[in-house]
Amino acid sequence: MAAILVVDDSTTMRQMVAFTLSSAGHAVTEAPDGAKALALARQQKFDLVITDVNMPGMNGIDLVQGLRGLPDCKFIPILVLTTEAGAELKQKGRSAGATGWIVKPFNPEVLLDTLKKVLD
């Protein structure tokens, strides 16, 4: 069981990811935007972070950069879950420190397999 932080401005999407991860036995914490996610990451230690890109305020790429600046999040896996599939944006995410890029809509089985891979 892993402690996972899910960041997405869409409540539906957040709950969908949380449902999938909770069903697999993970402990899920939700955040509606990048700023709140950063605040949570400062207070609590997570094993993995899943974030959207297009969010109000701080976007996902900036969040990845911010998380990589925190000592507890320097080496944890960070997955980007977004509708964007452009190569340029992917490269930006990679440069910011993202571990993986998943394009929405996600298949729960694929998401769990990816989680298993990055957590192992």
Binding site: S10, T12, M13, M16, F19, N54, T83, K104, P105, N107
Partner: protein
Amino acid sequence: MTTLRFKLYAYRNRIVPMLVLIMVPWLAIAAWAPWWMLTVSLPLLFVCAWLLFLHVLPTPPATRRVTDDRRLSDTEILTMRKSDQHAQELLARWASMTHESKQQLDEVDQHVTEVMTHAESAVVEIGKRFVEVTRKTRKQVELAVGLLSRTGGEAMDDDGPPDSLTDYINASDALLKDLGKQLSGLGEQLAALSARQEAVREDSKRIDGALDQLAGLASQIRVLALDSSRRGSSDNRAFVEMTDRVRDLSLTADESSRAIRRTLEDIKAQAGSTDNAIRALAMQARDAGRKSNEQVTQLTGATLGKMQEVHAALGEIGDLGERIQADINQIIIELQFQDITQQKLQRLKAPMLAELANSWISMFEETRAFNQKLPVRAETPDAQRAQPFRVSRKNAPEADKGRGESAPQETEPRRDDGSKVELF
């Protein structure tokens, strides 16, 4: 005449430069051309210029027409012609703007329709999936319940194999009880056999005693024989005494032999009875074993069949579980599609509507500025009717207030395309 006057008015600032330009070639050749040529060409030059002015130069748009109001001056008519031209341009821009707005609204409408279609299909799909999940779950439960008790607790048929695990357990229990009862009977019979064996042992002891007695008699007879041979001839009385003793011994031996015979008959009878009991016991044990074997074979076969059935049912339950999981995954994907489409529409809606609103505000400002630039004579009712556009007080509260003022700079909208307004 009117055309000539309007032309003169329209080109009043250009007549002198035009004449100078026409005179340039004449002046250029004036130095070396003969005097008579210069004299003839000069009036011809003016005639050509006059013809050029009348027939080649375009007539200005503000030329007075038959329908023009005679009370208006030429300047006013020209100003109105210019205003009319601006109004036409403004109308064209309004038409273009309306067309673009319609296209954008059509696009929005198309996206909204698309979203609604997506949402509708997603809801239908989710509903179907939920029905499927419910159906499969119900089937799982039915399979599990049927696995535990297919006959619903009905009594098992005596001849047939058990139909459910409950029946199987009941049959096993009955078989084991039956076996226990039979083993208990066998135990009792064995106890009876043991008692009979004890009686035989007692009879054997009695035979041993009789045999000991017979051995003692034989010993006494041997002693008497030796004693009689030693004293045979000397003492007649002793011989009689010895004879009596032999007779007594003989009687005792006879009694012992009869006792032994009786005992042997008892033993024979006991042996026969024991043999019969053992035969009956063996037959009973054989019957019980055969019956138990048959029942165990039947139960084992039924159990194996039931195990296969259980295996198949569990496999089906597992398959149904996997299919339920797949349905739930599909539901999650459908919900995501709906959410993604909704987000896209949200992102599309705001800038498109803002752009549309800005365009309309810009056009409104241009129109208002145009209205403000109309002549002051527009205060008359006729002129008011002639104004091409009037904005409502609701949409432009500043419009009527600012009428007649020079420029609407203080009411500039938030968009920075004031240059369009400045064109007027």
